[in-house]
């Protein structure tokens, strides 16, 4: 079943804004929550804006359920007010001069219902999202979580066929975020159309999205289920986001020669050629002296260059061949008397190394720790001409 025919979204377009170009091809099926993950300035919000009709595209087309929303070549364009789209904005943009009920009734009224019908449509959505008690309040009398629900109710009350959420939880404090996130997940599950969810919070993406697209500098750099993206990140950005070490190298008979120096012994003997190696920071053992021979196959010296206290552990930044981020307990830090400059030995079991071939070469990967943003711009051309492919 193609996404376009069954109420799905097809986005195959370019948006040029000054020197920035967003060039993305994606589809989202009805009922699917597609997470758009990426750093600031990656083009996530631009993409939503183009789908909503707030920004016309420069080339290509956007279609929803077989109906063209924007076609740059044919010159056709559906105005934002004519698109069956519900948009939950980053700061919600609730109308400050209207009550909660009036905010939620706005879309039914604007889409042609009479005053009374719009009111009862609003009441339906207020009840459904548990907002009935807040109906008479003004937006400045709402907590962050309540405002988020009102924004969702307002978007859903227009009975959209497509839902767009721009960082729906970023305005919330950490305490309420988890509750609202769980609630949002339930409401998204009940929505029958496709849903695009923009976030730069990996946890939010992992919890809420059925499928993830990672955007960097206006291009898709990875696409897959949240599990795939988290386990096998394609770029250094994603790896950092999900808290993994990511190395590039060349595999040859259970050995990987790493681009930035050093060698890993891996479990898989059949891999050949360019590979990515992902390593969980908690899978690395730190010793103050050269460890006794053991079943762990990888041991190398390193120097502590930084310590960061996380919630329940300490993240060590280590220089060596290769460098690594390693998580240890605060007790271990005290026992090994670790401080910047300490010389240690790192040990990793071959089976803890997640090794996978690159889906496609990406110039940023040649130097994952110091990738200048400018290398991303030429990614398409480089992919074709890269001799390693």
């Amino acid at each position: 079943m193609t996404p376009g025919a069954s109420g799905g979204l097809i986005f195959d377009a370019e948006v040029r804004r000054g020197s920035f170009t967003l060039a993305v091809t994606l589809t989202a099926a009805a009922g699917q929550v597609l997470g758009l993950l990426g750093p600031n300035g990656a083009g996530k919000s631009t993409l939503l804006s183009a789908v909503a009709g707030l920004t016309p595209i420069s080339a290509g087309r956007i279609a929803l359920g077989g109906q063209v929303l924007d076609d740059a070549d044919a010159g056709s364009f559906v105005e934002a007010s004519g698109r069956p789209v519900g948009f939950v904005f980053q700061n919600y943009r609730l109308f400050p001069h209207m009550t909660v009920a009036e905010n939620v009734a706005f879309s039914p009224r604007a889409r042609g219902l009479g005053r009374r019908a719009a009111k009862s449509a609003a009441r339906h959505w207020l009840d459904r999202l548990g907002l009935a008690d807040l109906a008479g309040r003004k937006p400045d009398q709402l907590s962050g979580g309540q405002a988020q629900r009102v924004a969702l109710a307002r978007a859903l009350a227009g009975q959209p066929e497509l839902l767009l959420l721009d960082e729906p939880l970023s305005a919330l404090d950490a305490g309420t975020r988890l509750d609202v996130q769980t609630e949002l997940k339930n409401h998204l599950a009940a929505f029958t159309g496709p849903c695009l969810l923009v976030t730069h919070d990996p946890l939010e993406a992992l919890v809420l999205a059925d499928r993830l697209i990672v955007l960097e500098n206006g291009r898709i750099v990875q696409e897959g289920t949240p599990g795939q993206v988290a386990r096998q990140p394609a770029t250094d950005y994603v790896a950092k986001l999900v808290g993994l070490n990511l190395y590039t190298g060349r595999a040859d008979a259970s050995q990987v020669a790493l681009t930035e120096g050093g060698t890993f012994i891996i479990a898989d003997q059949n891999l050949r050629g360019d590979v990515l190696v992902a390593l969980r920071p908690s899978a690395v053992v730190v010793s103050s002296q050269h460890p006794q021979p053991s079943s762990a196959r990888n041991t190398w010296p390193a120097k502590v260059t930084g310590l960061t206290l996380l919630a329940d552990r300490v993240r060590l930044d280590l220089q060596g061949q290769p460098p690594a981020l390693v998580d240890v307990t605060p007790a271990a830090v005290a026992e090994l008397s670790l401080s910047p400059g300490s010389q240690v030995w790192l040990t990793v079991k071959a089976t803890d190394l997640e090794v996978y071939t690159r889906a496609h070469s990406h110039p940023a990967l040649t130097d994952p720790h110091h990738s200048p943003p400018s290398t991303h711009h030429s990614c398409r051309q480089r992919q074709k001409t890269d001799p390693r492919d």
Binding site: E79, F95, H97, A110, G158
Partner: protein, 286 residues
């Protein structure tokens, strides 16, 4: 080498004030203080003169002895009609200037702003040339409809609108420019057409500025003199507004002139008080 300053006396009260508010000395240097005081005196003394010379004992008699009631009534209703007309046609123009772009827009904005700096009497002459019985528009109004505008209350309203409407337009245009367009985008994604967005989102959001602009426009219309006397003349009960009545009374009956001036001063103070939150605190117009 920094020269050391000997400690000077700092009262406990001044010390406490500086701790609470922060910041260094707030004493005013003499080169700034003297001109500032002259400016204050210049602005306050004339008003004081008005209050001192006022015929407090027989204020009522001074007012009734002139055409005060007639003039005040005419001034109040023409200013109000002027404000209404300015809202109906000026606000849409402000929206066009703020939210669209087209060739010649800068020229149009300059033309709209011109009456703000143009001597009002020139505006009156211009209105006369256009709408008098031999003017290039008035000629046809007279020929087709038998309508003669100059020296009628309608002429008063036209003169006041010409001079006062730009104040409203400029205020509202500024508010529209600085308004958060995110709300309008949100309204568009909720299915609202541009006119619905204007009516239900844009206008309510700029309501405070709309009110300020309307009051400003009304006050300017109330004080209009030059364009009105040129275009509408000064027929008591017909076109003689308060400022014109004051001007003529000063020659024949100074007490009445002062009493009329006090009435206008009172109206101005009321206007100022109604806008105190917006202007007297030095904040910007939202």
């Amino acid at each position: 080498m920094v020269t050391r300053t000997a400690p000077s006396h700092l009262t406990a009260r001044e010390r406490a004030r500086r701790i609470a508010r922060g910041g260094a000395s707030r004493s005013v240097p003499a080169p700034l203080l003297a001109p500032a005081l002259i400016a204050v005196a210049f602005l306050v003394l004339p008003l004081a003169g008005l209050l001192i010379r006022a015929p407090w004992g027989h204020l009522g008699a001074a007012l009734s002895g002139s055409d005060a009631t007639q003039a005040l009534t005419l001034s109040l209703w023409t200013s109000t009609v002027t404000t209404g007309i300015s809202l109906v046609i000026g606000v849409p123009l402000a929206w066009v200037l703020a939210r669209t772009s087209f060739p010649g827009q800068r020229l149009l904005r300059a033309l709209v702003t011109l009456p703000l700096v143009l001597p009002p009497v020139v505006g009156g002459v211009a209105l006369l040339l256009a709408f008098s019985r031999v003017g290039f528009v008035g000629r046809y109004l007279d020929y087709w409809f038998g309508l003669t505008i100059p020296f009628t209350p309608l002429a008063v309203i036209m003169a006041e609108t010409f001079v006062a409407m730009p104040f409203l337009i400029i205020t509202v245009e500024g508010a529209l420019r600085s308004a958060d367009q995110g709300f309008e985008e949100a309204a568009a994604t909720l299915g609202a057409t541009r006119i619905t967005v204007f009516r239900r989102v844009t206008l309510p959001l700029i309501a405070p500025s709309l009110g300020a602009g309307a009051v400003l426009c009304w006050a300017r219309a109330l004080g209009e003199f030059g364009a009105t006397i040129t275009f509408a003349g000064s027929f008591p009960g017909q076109t003689e507004t308060m400022p014109i009545a004051v001007y003529y009374a000063l020659e024949t009956n100074p007490d009445a002139a002062i009493a009329l001036s006090l009435v206008l001063l009172l109206v101005s103070v009321v206007v100022l008080v109604s806008l105190r939150d917006r202007w007297l605190r030095g904040g910007s117009v939202q």
